[in-house]
Amino acid sequence: MTGADAERQTLAPPERRVAEVKAVRRLGAYDVITARDPVGPRNPRPGQFYMLAAGDRWGGGASERPFLPRAFSYATARPHPDGGAMLEFVLEDVGPGTHRLGELEAGDALMLLGPLGLGFGPAAPGTVPLLVGGGIGVAPLLCLSEELEGAARVILGFRSAAHARGAELFDGDVTVVTDDGSVGARGLVTGPLREQLDSDSAATVYACGPPAMLEAVRALCAERDVACQLALEAGMACGYGACFGCVVATAAGLQRVCVDGPVFAGSALERVR
């Protein structure tokens, strides 16, 4: 692994393991799952993800799906005194897999593989980190903002007030906008982002969110020559480079989000779809 990669990646044990669900709480539109990873690394890198599956009722059912595991960024990780780590995931119920995971209860088994992929890298020399999240995209920014000890400015956009509760996970200086204006200003994250860059363009932008938002952020940063790192999503089967199913178009051709990403430099991407 190259030196650059090393900073962005903590290696995963080469097998799936069983974590114990410690708590599942509802936070507005999201489910927050806390699980004890018994033997995994204590220090995953912000932007890395885990492949998750419920210990049972996964792999079919009258509803047939889910069958494959699902990818989730870790939102926080705390080393556990007895080894391993306590991991937090933030989920949005968009289908059978996220729905089933949201139904987990304390004590249930959570099958887990990871941490996987290449996380966020250091800020460009002489720039300050600027975190921009949309909806469930806040998840990987949470551990990043913690690592930056809340020093970084954070801009978050949400669909509604229920979703905006995701902002409660952050402390420090957080600007919130919503599509319906129910919380903070009405509008998109690109509004506050533009203002911020106007006042100080010596920034490295770290962004995660829906494709349209990422594309807007990428274009804005490109036009201003601001370094940005985008955490992408793609449908995945394996999460560790085995299936070649999760590709996105990059300047270097189609690349696998799970091993070449999920974090890509904005400059390395064509338009995000």
Binding site: E15, R16, R65, C238, Y240, F244
Partner: protein, 304 residues
Amino acid sequence: MTGLALELCGVSLAGPVLNASGTFDAIAARRAFGAALVERFPFDAFVTKTVTLAPRQGNPPPRLWETAAGMLNSIGLPNKGLDGFLAHDLPQLADLRVPLVVSVMGFDHVELAALVEGIGARPEVAMIELNVSCPNVETGTIVGADPGETAAALDHVRPLTDKPLVVKLTPNAIEPAAVAAAAQDAGADGISLINTLKGMALHPRTGEPWLGGKTGGMSGPAVRAVALEQVARVAERVELPVIGMGGICSGCDAADFLAAGATAVAVGTESFRDPASGRRISEELAALAAGGRLKPLAARDTSL
């Protein structure tokens, strides 16, 4: 070491569990898992993703669709091409502590010959798997669906290497056993099957084909019964060792394929659920053998 060591086409393996081509990238896995991947490698031999003569990007995304107890893929054989494979991938794969099987596909005999010669010449390679699930550019028919075309392909490349040649059959044929027999007569050293079943899914909202490649290949538990039947039929028809695959998820599944006449098995989709699946399946198989529940299997009569 499972106590199930065997000779497969003259290559000695510590056990009968391989990975299915295109379902495990040892180089990428090593990036994700580090040295532990090599130390606890899940398979008794490593089969590469299919290599073509020219580099390929593969199909546009989306490439995956989840089905009931299985999945569709339209990956489209992305790979670095022969030169890229030999230059970049082969050296890294040589570090693995298990025999290396290289899967190749040529879109005509000339391509296939270049692939077999180029790869056959490398000492790191223990075996070559011919993926014949490709259309004949002239006739349009899938080579592996036709005994004659398959035999012709083998006739052409058999003289070019001493390495064992395993022919990977497509299940989308009327009579895979006839194709296997033709391959045997043309000098193949082994047969592997099944490749994916052709399938399709539509976008839940637009109703257009979901997959970038429009159609895809189905794999996983959903295809196991179909695979088992084809393996039994082929094993009954040919003398050659058969590598059985298709939805294998457990030692019991693997034992069924061995009972149906396979000499070895390959694990594909199940590895997506857990990269260590191959090792677990080997252990379950070893336990069945230790319990005497495997030997009799070998003697089972599954003739159709």
